[in-house]
Subunit: 341 residues, 6 copies
């Protein structure tokens, strides 16, 4: 199974432990990004994972690519050129104090990339799956165009396409998001989102939900998924369900809607003591792509993706360093956390 | 709003993370102190905050002052002279293992300070508020005298005075505390305490409480506050209410008694996953001084102070690095800890 | 009270904090081992504690011994010779992600030790108690022989013997364990175990338990203990009871069966936010040896051992750095974790 | 003595110790910048030091300002607005391996600043000295205009002006630098530079030097300084002289030319084991401004500035945390490095 | 250019900074090994670099392979199986205190590997160069056999072979080394060594040298190289020349003997302030293999290899993270260490 | 050989690496002291080493004692009581920037100790040697009295006594030192000092020396030593000779004067790249005590002590973690620093 993922690779500068930003005199540094997180997780699961992006032609850009090479992601299609390395600052929250992300991604090499820099015929050659997220088109009109071209090529080549809506209020408005995404989603076989994404990006609201308190209604979620499939022709809509009790503890589960049979499948529910919630949604996407690509049925697929993304949130850093064995162990053991020795 | 705070600045030597003291070969080092914590929080909230103390005239003393300059606290009234830097060792607890404080503050420059070293006319010039805590007079008879003189001058100048009882069993006995404090409290417009303070320092016991189990009775607390106001002429008594479930998790709320209307206002209750509970009470005092100084009504004031001090306990170090925006966000969101990005 | 403990000293290489192994570029390094953990805890409690092992004659082996000297354990009976230092890698889990131990203890100086290298007459001279665990005979047939010889000598000298069954599936099979241990247990006055040990090593199953979910039946546990005493002539069987809710939170309690009076004593139950659960069982053993050695009655003994081992799990590292005062404080305060200052 | 310094404040992200960039998983983080370094050093020396810049209105920008507040630099004139925080990555070299700086300062709030954002009448009110460097106009044409306006205003107000040429090849070409700087230098009373600056920015070459090997000719340097004074009307030209033996060891000295008397003064020569050479030139500028401002004679001034900047290079970070006492001690002791206790 | 390198991958556990082993409570952890160091350097230079070894099938072994994937070394030919991960402890010296290496590599998966586990026809397919070192046959007789088979296959396939003698006194005696190596060296086209290696492994002594004081005689070195070529039929002998002034400072240069023309080429001499001297010889080997593989002439080749290995010794860790550009910059600049910005 | 050493144990709080004090947010923490350093070194060399002091009865005091237990120093004679733990802050210098020590040792348990707290008959029982330094009597008059009593008892018991003059200008004046020490030195068989000590404490000046530049005259040193022996009846005077080139590099050698034969023996000279010079003199004392106690001749003794103390200065921390083997290796190899593997 060969998956091509497209998106930005960012420098993550995180305050150490649970300190406030610049409270300590160092920052923990990793490279990551919504789409790169998916590519890494897929590679660890055993897929042939190709990551495509544009990076600055500098020691910083090359170190970013190496952090993917470490996980055997194929970085040979990465384009190098002018522009800076996008970055984000992260402060991890505790209890009532929320985690904070401060973006410093403007003018990045990726945001400034132009359509002619990516040769999609070459990039998608031999791929089974193409994945991207809604962050890409939020960065520039050129990027929207690139996503459109890549999606079209994928369709031509009968490559399955998945898109994580991934709405980011700091990057674009719901209005702009809708006007752009409604042209892109029709190319997606599978659409991944949470309730807020569906509402902000597609204007489809779960009438029975209250996202602040984390209370969600299963029937409402199925209705949202069905509406998306009807409107955009997607075959699957997968929704992650986060109940935010505090910055330290979240509920986590997920649902998958199969448009062909018109049914929703719900995963078991996890009560997570968070190590790092960033990247949870990306781990969920990776879990689904892997599950679909290895022909799991819907029930197994949503359990696999929910378990994989639960484990991500117990691991520091954006990347889900979870193996197939780890996911299977959680599914089998139920997460009692007994020591393995 | 200009606030003058008076007290000792200490060197805090904390075992890293949750290790036992001297289990690791380094100590995390910050400067702090019950009163300095108040001064820093006020400055971050936007008040003009002046901190008065005596420090050793050495690289250590000067570094201590700089840690306040960092937060734009006005350190120009600090007196430098002979004596050592007071210090304390901190070991943070986990679960059933309690946090431990070991004081090394004897013979400090501050404890050895003499009344003539502080020119209160100059120091209090233009101030709206004067704040001190019961730790000061516990250090020496000279310090009691200094607190008395400062309080008198403040009264003369019609500056509001607040005092946090802050009883420390390792510094003085309840008997000594009572004999000293009963002369000082009458100068305080606002008195801040917890139940143990009220009992130990003022001999006023909440008959319906059991401080070990953390069970508290609201009616009893109102009665304690009223008794204080009646006895010492305070206009406000604010009490923080901590329920210690374990060293990792505490309940937290507060109440404010307004003697003029004879009514108590109770804040919402927080269930805190503790990052560092030291300085929680000081953050509460700072919240109240800020609230009073900006003319919040009692209901808003106690909610503001409780929320600010809740957030402090999710932050490492004595200082409450919380901004007005952070407090308002908690009050608005209810503390679900959802990531801000 | 002089206790001789016999076992292996290992190099523990732990991923920092809650990171995955090799996620960070350093490893936290300590020396430890099931039996050494007991020796250190006993020494801290005030017993004269002698630890016997074989170590490589190198800077590594000598540093290992020093880590015991630090706690005033008597290391003068340690044998030095050829072979490597046994080691283990540790990755601490969070929430649904379990902790992982990877052993690298094959071919260690201890595993290769021969019976003639230990002079038990000399080693046990003046001792009141001899303690070892089931890990020793799992390492080699020579080690089984050594344990047998040591136990026999102890019996001759009327020294009390305790054995912690300590089953390790990666070291031997239940069948091998049973065939070896059934010859060794009859020398033990006190047998320490958990339910899994009893079943795997002795084939005695608690019919009313489900070790995965952590559900346990008190009657069943008493029955298991009685069966052990009847079969092997032990006077006491102490069982630790862990309820694994997650890798971050465990229930913990214990029971002690006194064969003479045919009664079981149950400790109070602790709900632990785990700092490091490794060494919890060893701390329990040390608590019991200390309790028996200082003539506590059974009720006090099991409360002491449960409290001591509860505190261990709130401390990083294998060693239980808990003092008598700490245990007594927990027993008195009930573990509300209020700060000590 | 009140000095206003104008320039950019940058986030410095340095590889820990002497590791290569991204070899370790954290970066040491400080805020700094050629001009901010001067402001901090002046404040530590005791001058009233005002720093003017534009910062992003974010947690990052505010933390940057706090790092100057820590040293009591007056940050009240800083402008906040849109744009990012300029940054640079630093890898410290060893022996034959050179230190490397990678800039990430494009599109910063400062680089995007517009002339109308700075009210120089207000900013320069009461100042005795105004300092800026050649990095400013290299950032944008608007910045050149701002420097011109500030210099003009300073002249009007009879405030002394100093400029450090500070040529950066990665920011502009010698041609561009010359065309811009020749309009700005005439406003400078004092010009600070090294030989490379003089050649690249002003096209004035020391005919008898070889900057690679570090061989310099004193007569040549005097000639260069005289040429600058003649061409631009400066009263003083100060030149730092670095002999780069390796990334770990440099020779360091300086010369000051006084145009009025037509004479050059040479400092003693230091052989420095480098802790961090970045900021050495800025410390030299600060030393000179302080020396001129406190009316030292030329001989003392150049010795003071050379000694202060020598000490900077023994301190980690861009800032020269050296006090007056430290400089005087070096001048008196000659730098034998004997322990002070 | 495709190079296959064969050898062991070790876990390096280094005391942090310049501390003594176990003086601090953590160890810096990397993976490395004489041959792996060569493979990584070659990959960074741009060669297609394949590394062959046997690793334990565990999280430790897999992390080891990932550390090579990071540098895009081809790890697909690595064999996984039983046995432990070889390791070594490192304590870096300062001044008169020497660095210390303590091996813990006995019973490793690699040392226990058997000839049938490596399919050399497959491994060497398409390779231009095969490199191994004298450490391999020192580990076991099977490993000697494997080296012999690999060398034979390489010869058959007309692949160039290089061998670094790499004598390790703790692994075998000179006698054993000679008896084994004299059968293996004849397959080597190029032989890399230092004087001690030549003497211990081949019994060829530089009569005019004194290895303790580091005094070496160039004529003597040429004679040694010629003797090796005459005896074993090598075309090239390259010798690194280390003058050990102290643990902090070494002289470094090299010579290359070309048997065809019967001439020796000497590199320039470097005076190195050491960051980490371990891996210097491996970097030298990698430099030569790269130089030969890219058809440099002898004079350029020895300069390239000497410069590359000089730079390695200014970098922490075994790996030479030096790029082609870095080497060229040193050759051009002469190593004055001027900052690059 | 059993040695009793008497002095204060201090908490050393050192800025990490070469940072300025409080530049970083942690301090490296160890326990040490001029006399404790001697006791530890002697224990590592293999002597039976007893350390006597008074410590605060707290977690801090007990951790201090444990740091000696780690090295098997006998701590059973340590007295516990009221008072604080003496401490010192250390900032390590680089190049022209000197190291700085800031004492915080006033009011320590040791400084407040009274003569009746030490039972010298019991403490000195079975000892061969008694060692103390001039820091002790500088702390208080009681401490002078205690030193006098201990010295007298030692003489009575025919125990050899050594005293390191160890003058500290911050603790007492030369006048006070002389008046006290002239009563104590007559009990010393061996007197250890450097030139400054001899001058300040005993008023005996090397006429041909210039301690600032480090130029010393051997004849002058012999004359000083002879004068001491003549005046106070010492049998040996050993003088360490430090040439301070910079804070990073020192010359180091030593001389021993034997009064019986009236001759001086000079060690070889070391040029040291300093890792931590603090404790160098104490290591020298320990080397001499060990050398005398094991009956080395004067020539060997001074070489041994100079080599041991040279090695100390290459090790971080006050303690000389150098073994006999390390010293012998240096004496044999001459300190070329070649790696040991």
């Amino acid at each position: 199974m060969k998956v091509v993922t497209f998106g930005e690779l960012l420098l993550r500068l995180a305050a150490p432990g649970y300190s406030k930003l610049f409270q300590k005199d160092s920052l923990d540094v990793t490279f990551c990004g919504a789409e790169a997180n998916v590519a890494v997780s897929l590679s660890i699961f055993g897929a042939e994972s190709v990551f495509v992006t544009k990076l600055p032609d500098s020691d910083v850009g090359r170190a970013a690519a190496r952090s993917l090479d470490y996980f055997k992601v194929d970085t040979s299609k990465i384009v190098y050129g002018a522009g800076r390395m996008g970055a984000y600052f992260l402060e991890k929250g505790v209890s009532q104090r929320p985690s904070k992300v401060i973006y410093d991604r403007a003018y990045s090499a990726f945001a400034l990339a132009r359509p002619e820099e990516f040769d999609w015929d070459d990039i998608l050659e031999g791929a089974d799956w193409f994945h991207w997220t809604g962050i890409n088109p939020a960065l520039s009109d050129e990027m929207s165009e690139i996503c459109l071209e890549a999606s079209r090529k994928a369709k031509e080549k009968r490559i399955a396409v998945s898109c994580d809506l991934n709405y980011r209020a700091k990057l674009w408005s719901p209005e702009k998001a809708r006007s752009v995404m409604k042209k892109l989603i029709p190319y997606a076989d599978a659409c991944f989102c949470n309730e807020e994404d569906a509402e902000k990006v597609l204007g489809i609201k779960n009438e029975s939900t209250d996202s602040t308190s984390g209370m969600l209604d299963e029937t409402g979620l199925s209705r949202v998924a069905k509406t998306i499939c009807d409107a955009y022709g997607c075959k699957y809509v997968a929704t992650s369900i986060r109940k935010s009790y505090s910055a330290s503890r979240n509920g986590w589960s997920a649902t998958l809607y199969d448009a062909d049979v018109g049914e929703s499948y719900f995963s078991r529910k996890y009560d997570i003591q968070l190590a790092d919630r960033v990247g949870g949604g990306d781990a969920f996407s990776a879990g689904l792509v892997y599950a679909f690509g290895t022909r799991m049925n819907c029930r197994d697929a949503i359990e696999f993706a929910a378990a994989a993304s639960c484990l991500k949130q117990t691991i520091e850093g954006d990347f889900n360093r979870t193996t197939l064995e780890d996911v299977e162990f959680l599914l089998k053991s139920g997460g009692n956390g007994r020591i393995q020795r």
